[in-house]
Symmetry: D2
Subunit: 140 residues, 4 copies
């Protein structure tokens, strides 16, 4: 049984569309917000500035979402994030979006660990031990 | 050989993030913008108000994207949209994002035809003939 | 001395731009989020569906913001909202954005009370007593 | 009689809100998009990377907007941008948003010329001659 990290958020007016529901693009952003809050809960940051001027980050390589039922203005959405797989260079998450006990959407997110300078090309690297140990401890 | 619809757009400053590239959530919005522009190119609209106060629309049921290379501020991104499958009630698209000849991302989008009143529940319906005939003519 | 309502929020990665700071457009959205959270704190809602199918809402007629210092990823921004003026039909707010004791931005927002049907024209109305009494009690 | 630069754009579905109109925060982003397109029309860029690793850019110091009438999905909005004042370090713009002949909104935008490294503090500088000469030639 893997552990999971949960975040809740209220659907904002600016996130609704003319169909009266949260626009689908928000679910990808919420998935990322949950990922970043999860990192903060482990005393990690997704954008880790190094002393040599590079940054260690986790750009997304893929994200998908399936939409089951609508989320409306002022609904409280729970995003439940689970680390599905810890690879050598990549992390794969599963996210479940719900309102009370109703399933709203579910998605997956794959990120890859990179070291880069702002505006330059991204080079993937092995996930540093600092991250690995905390992620593995959490997932046990 | 299926036909495809192409749209180009410049990456806006507001679409970039602190990594200096277009934020991944924009690709889902761009895919939707291409879908809506494609409908307009067929003299259709994705949000069709009926005389009885209902709207015929195409909410998304799933969307995925794979990110291959970055898009930067003021890059011109081409979104090439292809109708992959015309179902009884649903439409499935494939989108290829490129800058010049470089592949940036590729995604899929599945929508389902619905009739609804604003703020009320969505009921799926068979895609009306008006849409079907134009979509099929295009896809031939 | 007027009362004020405070909301805090973490700057999200998706809200940053290639300059490495929160994009200026977010401040207008945050001001609105504070307004809506303020309404919820008074057991009110900014989008109040009536039994006759109309909605009572508060569309913006003007908003301005002055930017003093930057907000960065994972900074906690406090939005302090004060009701500057309660008119017959309109509400004017002042917002102060800060990080710890540093001023980040300050803005104003003017809304007007309207009754409308979705997609139809907006007609301004006098602010209903239910709202007035709670807003005045808060502002005393 | 000052010259003005015009840009048109279609209101996207993702830009609408549950009131069925373009969310007010988009107007600030559209004003910025018009500013950047205006710079491109003069063969300038708003984010000018220098050979020494710094960037010359024009962060906003203030922006305001007054909303007169709604913009809806698939409306074509014209943004007419005029340089109101060229200061030593700052530029002030006026923007008029219209749909056909109907006024939708009008706003102002003040930017200040800065040289900075990504993530570091912004230092204001005098607007370089390259920019000045093109801006003045345009405004005559």
């Amino acid at each position: 049984m893997a552990s999971s990290y949960s975040m809740t958020r209220v659907v904002e007016f600016s996130e609704t569309d003319m169909a009266g529901i949260a626009h689908f693009s928000n679910f990808y952003t919420w998935m990322e917000q949950a990922e970043h809050a999860f990192f903060r809960s482990l005393d990690l940051t997704i954008a880790n500035n190094q002393t040599d001027g590079t940054t260690i980050g986790f750009p997304r390589v893929a994200a998908s979402c399936r939409f089951v039922s609508p989320a409306k203005f002022e609904d409280t959405v729970t995003v439940q994030l689970r680390v599905q797989r810890i690879g050598v260079k990549s992390l794969t998450y599963e996210a479940i979006f719900s309102i009370d006990d109703r399933l709203v959407a579910n998605g997956t997110l794959k990120t890859v660990c990179c070291r880069f300078r702002s505006g330059e090309s991204l080079d993937s690297i092995e996930i540093p031990d600092l991250y690995l140990s905390k992620l593995e401890e959490f997932s046990e």
